[in-house]
């Protein structure tokens, strides 16, 4: 029986192959592999299951996926770097459009729309973070923070990066790996009662060898760092830069970091219209002022708006392309490649839909819902709803130290109630003991939160 022609491979048609081989002057396709020595040719068939038709494939994959339980089936209180938010339908409609989904490296003349959509993303996010420059997105927040640190190192000519100890451990690992061996990282302590940065420790570690301090606000541990102006003053005295990582969905209600002295702002776009996707929705951004020194240190693409030869038209192109490794290989600023551009476009759609009021409303609802959750959790005996005294945004630490139960046990109990409990912090922050980071956003209803409190009570009373 002749071999079937696969739907994805049109030129498997034998007559077509024959015609093509004739043009080439070869008898068989195998001849074309004469450049590969026999000794490294694969002799056996790969142990991969045989091909499935589209229908069989669908059944096979759906069978696997059905073993998962999504956060739409259980009530989810996990955050810690990937968060469940409301996603407008138009965001999904745009990011699944074939044109955007399958575009890549087209020129401004055939991909004008892609350039414009990314320029608009940069522009919309710039308004949210109140900075003049935003890049085409990086891999994720950790990458954005790590690149910001390297940019600071190059701008100041210094090698030391101070990291707030409350920075997400996953992100500090990325920063340290990306920074080494060039940069040396050192942690600055936080106050165990408030979570706020220990300014005395900062003063002790801050010298003229420090390129920058990186802190997150709202912090990974949820609290709002209110000492921004003081921290910025200390850094400026030593001519060190201030890098602030931010959850952009907080910026409808919280001051953009530039307002309290940040030189570089970075963060994750996932809250702005991306599904969690088991962490497939992460994308990083970097923002600075329109300062030549800073712009020249970006490794990423920066799309700029330009006139065309025809009056009344906008065009777009790469600003200062010579910075990049695309142009200069090892002499470029770090490296750039395929990152997360589609999520940038989607974040732009999200911001355009939300508008200035929507972004403020969503921030406020998050604060109200999360404060309500803490209030309800505080009613449970031996449990402290928010470990830190400082105000927080969407995430907060629940202290279970006095319950005699471990987070593992509590989360198992919650799971039985169809709840994904908070992230266990006992390994990442052993000094906080049996604590968990809970996340409450605008998607949680009063019923969800009341159910969490009731379930927690039940689990602890068991």
């Amino acid at each position: 029986m002749p071999q079937k022609v696969h739907p994805y491979i049109p030129n498997m048609v034998p007559e077509v192959q024959e015609k093509m081989l004739k043009v080439i002057g070869a008898n068989t396709v195998d001849e074309l592999y004469s450049c590969i020595p026999d000794e490294i040719k694969l002799k056996e068939e790969m142990h991969i299951p045989k091909a499935l038709t589209e229908w069989e494939l669908r059944r096979h994959i759906e069978k696997s996926l059905n073993k998962n339980t999504g956060a739409n089936e259980y009530v989810n209180f996990l955050g810690a770097g990937c968060w469940q938010h409301f996603i407008p339908a138009v965001c999904d409609e745009i990011n699944q459009r074939s044109e955007f989904l399958t575009a890549y490296a087209g020129e401004p003349y055939e991909d004008h729309g892609r350039y414009q959509a990314l320029f608009e993303y940069q522009s919309l996010l710039a308004e949210l973070v109140d900075m003049d420059v935003v890049n085409v997105p990086t891999f994720d927040w950790g990458q954005a923070a790590a690149t910001s640190a390297r940019m600071a190192g190059r701008i100041t000519g210094r090698k030391k990066i101070l990291l707030a100890k409350s920075v997400a451990p996953e992100r500090s690992k990325i920063i340290m790996n990306y920074g080494s061996p060039e940069l040396e990282c050192e942690f600055v302590d936080f106050d165990i009662k408030s979570g706020l940065m220990d300014l005395e420790d900062l003063k002790a570690k801050l010298n003229y060898d420090v390129a920058a301090l990186y802190l997150e606000n709202p912090s990974y541990l949820g609290f709002i760092e209110s000492q921004g102006p003081e921290i910025s003053k200390l850094l400026k005295e030593k001519k060190a830069l201030m890098i602030v990582g931010v959850d952009p969905i907080s910026l409808g209600v919280l001051a953009p970091p530039g307002h309290y002295g940040a030189d570089i702002v970075c963060g994750d776009l996932q809250p702005l219209g991306m599904h969690m996707n088991y962490s497939g929705g992460q994308a990083g951004f970097i923002a600075t002022h329109d300062d030549e020194t800073f712009i020249n240190e970006y490794p990423s693409r920066l799309f700029g708006i330009v006139p065309t030869v025809k009056e009344g038209e906008y065009g777009f192109g790469d600003v200062a392309y010579e910075r990049t490794s695309f142009a200069h290989r090892e002499k470029g600023k770090e490296s750039v490649g395929t990152q997360t551009a589609l999520w940038g476009i989607t974040a732009g759609v999200y911001l355009a839909l939300m508008g200035p009021s929507g972004i403020q409303e969503v921030g406020q609802t998050i604060m109200q819902n999360s404060q309500y959750a803490v209030k309800e959790i505080n009613k449970i005996q031996s449990v402290k709803g928010s470990l830190f005294e400082s105000p927080f945004f969407k995430e907060f630490i629940v202290d279970f130290n006095k319950t005699g139960k471990t987070i593992e046990e509590i989360n198992q109990g919650l799971l039985e109630c169809k709840i994904f409990g908070g992230k266990d912090l006992s390994k990442e922050f052993p000094e906080l003991g049996q604590t968990a980071l809970f996340c409450v956003t605008e998607i949680h209803t009063k019923e969800d939160i009341d159910y969490l409190a009731a379930s927690l009570k039940g689990v602890l009373e068991k």
Binding site: L65, A71, C82, E120, D132, A255, I305, G317, G358, P391
Partner: protein
């Protein structure tokens, strides 16, 4: 009715043009795009406004200056921009060599939009994500077969990040052996991807770049001269971006191993090799595949993507954590790898892309994968023979067959007509076709790199070739039509570098544009 003449070999194409305003120009005070979930009244009563407790220094004093736009207007705006984008679903995307533009199966896009993946949180208990972990693990098993490596991580979300992760592993490995300071050089070749050199520099390495011999093969004598006790690693694409496969690759890896270095393989150009030859047999310690290239995940305007990173058993403990394991009928995430480089990206990687590539592999099976490679190579060599017959076109280095792509040259065309590869690029747009020049630096003069992949039919290839033939003809007969191109695009020629390289004129955001344009007007 008389028979309509459809004999034109090139397409009568015009790109969509909407003259669409910048989104800020669509602002109408009071309009609204979407209503976010409101706060429950009882919650508001219980906690108040929720924002008064924000310390003074941290309150946002005024709303961000995002435009106010109704939903239909936002949708229409972005749909118009999508029409002004020529994605590979619409385009015979042969012109983006080194990027393996192939058909993106729609079934895979449907599958990733299942709530059983979209709504998974990466920290959910393992028991609730067994299906997702199973897909990660199954793709790992397939990748092992395809490469001969022993373990894969899907954490790096792009080829650049995979190369960076591999450079990190090289550093950690030598540090563990007490040779971290001594081994400070990475060797690569000029026709390997630019990220290879750039990511190794980020890890603090000095780069030694090998230039090819007169036939375009990586020069083994130059490699012998380059290796020393300072060699940390060797990173190479094979075939290189020229489409030339280095037949002595096993000798290369042996020379580097004998000098104490690690060999890592950039398999971004792997499309012609599936089921034919593998990283293991060529002596590599690590390799990576771009799932958005060889394994049919979409490129998404430049990501998110996945650089699937494979290592041999000896380097397993260095992988970024976690990796997925299967024991006692359960899939688990393993975090305790003894020498792990830590993390290169948040959590687990781009799960949708892992699923897409797994689905693609399963839709082809082992025989289908091999057909992918063979037809990609057939398509490329057909194209190669046809393009070499176009006046003014050439392809330097070894004659005979190439693998999945070719780096061509218009050097002769430029000499004879003045038309450059950049000029050709703009004119190709008029036929609805994408054409990329090549990576810098232009070692091959007036370069262009074509990679036809298995996805395109002979008719598609013939159409692309016909457009190149047409442009060559124009170059010799009517070069002005090329010089003034594009003619049928969304926009006219950009008044480019002065606005993009001059700090006084560049505008990276709309607010910068407004500021600088006003300053300009007041001068």
């Amino acid at each position: 009715m008389k028979l309509i003449n459809r004999n034109s070999k090139t397409r009568d194409f015009h790109q969509a043009k909407w003259n669409e305003p910048i989104i800020f120009e669509l602002h109408q005070s009071g309009e609204k795009g979407v209503e976010p979930p409101p706060v429950n009244e009882e919650i508001a009563l219980a906690v108040g406004d929720g924002i008064s407790i924000i310390p003074e220094s941290m309150q946002r004093k005024s709303k961000p200056s995002i435009p106010e736009i109704g939903q239909a207007k936002v949708l229409r705006h972005y749909l118009r921009l999508s029409q002004e984008t020529l994605g590979s679903d619409f385009n015979v995307e042969i012109g983006q060599g080194t990027c393996t533009m192939k058909y993106i199966p729609k079934i895979n896009e449907m599958l990733i939009r299942n709530s059983k993946i979209m709504k998974l949180h990466p920290l959910q208990p393992e028991s609730t994500v067994q299906g997702m972990l199973e897909i990660f693990y199954n793709l790992d098993l397939c990748m092992r077969e395809i490469s001969g490596m022993d373990y894969f991580s899907f954490q790096p979300s792009g080829g650049t990040q995979a190369l960076f992760a591999m450079a990190s592993i090289v550093r950690k490995y030598h540090e563990q052996r007490g040779e971290g300071d001594q081994r400070n050089e990475i060797i690569t070749t000029i026709f390997s991807h630019p990220s290879q050199a750039a990511t190794a520099v980020v890890k603090g390495y000095k780069i030694i770049t090998l230039h090819p011999d007169e036939n375009g093969f990586p020069d083994i004598e130059k490699l012998k001269a380059a290796v020393s006790e300072r060699t940390a690693g060797f990173v190479v694409a094979n075939p290189e971006d020229t489409g030339i496969f280095n037949p002595k690759i096993k000798e290369f890896t042996k020379i580097v191993h004998d000098a104490g270095g690690i060999c890592y393989y950039d398999q971004a150009n792997a499309n012609g090799l599936l089921g034919i030859t593998r990283a293991k047999e060529a002596g590599f310690d690590m390799c990576f595949f771009n799932l958005h290239k060889t394994f049919a995940a979409p490129h998404m305007c430049g990501g998110p993507a996945t650089g699937a990173l494979g290592v041999t058993e000896a380097l397993k403990e260095y992988l970024p954590v976690p990796i997925v394991e299967y024991k006692d009928d359960k899939y688990t995430l393993k975090y305790d790898l003894k020498h792990s480089i830590g993390k290169v990206r948040a959590f687990h990687g781009v799960a949708q892309t892992v699923l897409r590539s797994y689905a693609w592999i399963r839709s082809l099976g082992p025989e289908g994968l091999k057909e992918v490679a063979k037809i990609a190579v057939l398509n490329n060599n057909y194209m190669y023979h046809r393009v070499l017959n176009i006046k003014g076109a050439g392809a330097p280095y070894v004659k005979g067959h190439r693998l999945e792509q070719v780096r061509y040259s218009w050097e002769q065309l430029t000499k004879e007509t003045g038309i450059t590869t950049e000029d050709v690029q703009l004119r190709m747009t008029d036929f609805g076709l994408h054409y990329w020049t090549s990576h810098h630096p232009y070692i091959v003069k007036q370069p262009f790199t074509l990679e036809p992949t298995e996805s395109y039919s002979k008719q598609d290839l013939d159409e692309y070739i016909a457009a190149l033939e047409q442009i060559s003809k124009e170059a010799y007969e009517n070069p002005d039509i090329i010089k003034n191109a594009p003619h049928n695009s969304t926009i006219h020629k950009i008044d480019e570098r002065d606005f993009l390289d001059n700090p006084k004129k560049w505008c990276i955001t709309w607010r910068s544009y407004l500021k600088k344009a006003k300053e300009h007007q007041s001068v």
